[in-house]
Symmetry: C2
DNA sequence: GCAAAAGTGTTGTCCTTACACCCATGC
DNA sequence: GCATGGGTGTAAGGACAACACTTTTGC
């Protein structure tokens, strides 16, 4: 019994050694994460940017990024960076893509994995504003550092597609929202106009909007009903959809 | 004039130095790419696997992976790894996701970026068969090394979604193919049965299938027409699609 | 009472689905 | 001539797009 355990642990040690040697033979690369934080305010889609750390990009804007620690999961790194840069916690983040062109950073080879998020500007007051952290309107952006403009374009496309297939919009809204607010989100992100009646029908038919029996207050027009989104029902019923389309 | 150029180049040197110092302060991480190569043969979806390099996973299967070189773009690394492992060139590869759990590799921290591809088994005879490189049927897979089972599952989901929105299927088929072959691809990947008449109508309505005026030969039944896919027409017309759906 | 946005229904079109019979070939 | 899969049309239902008038509130 002891004999057996011993041979196993010797084999294990040899295996571990082999695996470690292999990994040590790999060149190591500096790794970062960048967060593309989309927000929605009034009628426009915004993105959270800082002024670049580097003198070289002094007047240019940059995504929220930092290096990945040596023993950190990528997802964790993204959440940490967001917390450090903005003070935000408990934010839904999704990995979009990794960028690894050798020349993308002027300081040398850096690979970055990009995460995106959508959130309600009002729910996440910026508790840290170092580096001129601020919301910027998509489509009115200044010059950006590194390849961050290219990255942002990829993320905007990702967002447009994603919001049509997943109920992300509700992250951008207060818990209770009017249909007009919801439609504003879609119009801002998709950059188009939608027919109000068809839009309402669409969401009514899905059956995920719950009437709160409350109304908007303090609006200068007829107040709209307020709804909540029924995430539970959505989770249970969601798609098995097969439909070839392109 | 000279004065001005000089000051610029001094500033540039300072900037470069700052950027380099910054990057040098980042911990570096071993990076790999893994290729999930889907193929289609007769009626079944397959994936290309090797036996793991590591004694620890001696009898387990592994995706085609290797480390990223220190000055190599991720996309290039994926193509190189595929060439080295299989001898295949000019293969369409797409980045799917990066995986970075600290414990995913027994030799220590390794981040991997995963690429997927679809190709025609017949068009790509395996010119290298080291490490028991071979096609394996999806759904009849042995145990896999590392977190490669998890990665493969992500890629299968990616593929199912992707093939419904993009004309990937044609990469898996000969240039000239019958509608039955096309339908087999969809049925294999989506793991379902489709109505033959509706399937044909769907693709006829798209208008991207070109009749070659040729027929199948050497089949034991009425021969079908052979078509080609008109990639050019597709590129020009493709989607501006807006349609919320979830 | 006026400005501003909420709320509501119908119609036509198109897409999707379900479904059954004859045809061309190899053996 | 029979087994195998190729090729075709139609009808019903559901989703989507287009479109106008009345209602409620703040001022």
């Amino acid at each position: 019994m002891l004999e057996h355990d011993k041979s196993v642990s010797i084999a294990t040690a040899a295996h571990t050694h082999e695996a470690i040697s292999l990994v040590e033979s790999y060149p190591a690369v500096p790794l970062t994460v960048d967060c593309v934080i989309f927000g929605f305010d009034k009628h426009v889609l915004k993105v959270l940017l800082i002024k670049s750390d580097l003198a070289q990009f002094a007047e240019k804007y940059s995504l929220l990024g930092d290096n990945v620690k040596s023993n950190e999961d990528l997802d964790d790194a993204a959440h940490r960076v967001l917390l450090e840069r903005t003070g935000m916690k408990d934010v839904y983040l999704e990995q979009v893509h990794s960028f690894g062109k050798p020349q993308r950073h002027p300081g040398g080879r850096v690979v970055t994995t990009v995460y995106a998020s959508l959130l309600n500007v009002k729910h996440h007051e910026l508790s840290i504003t170092d580096h001129e952290l601020n919301w910027h309107q998509i489509g009115q952006l200044g010059e950006m550092a590194f390849d961050h403009k290219e990255i942002l374009d990829v993320c905007v496309n990702w967002l447009q597609k994603r919001i049509q297939e997943h109920p992300l919009a509700f992250n951008l809204l207060p818990k209770k929202f009017s249909l007009r607010q919801l439609q504003n989100v879609y119009e801002a992100i998709l950059n188009c106009q939608l027919d109000r009646r068809n839009f309402r029908k669409k969401f009514a038919a899905m059956g995920y909007l719950m009437d709160t029996n409350e109304m908007e207050v303090n609006v200068t027009h007829r107040p709209g009903k307020l709804y909540t989104f029924d995430f539970e029902a959505y989770q249970q019923r969601k798609k098995n959809g097969i439909g070839i389309d392109f």
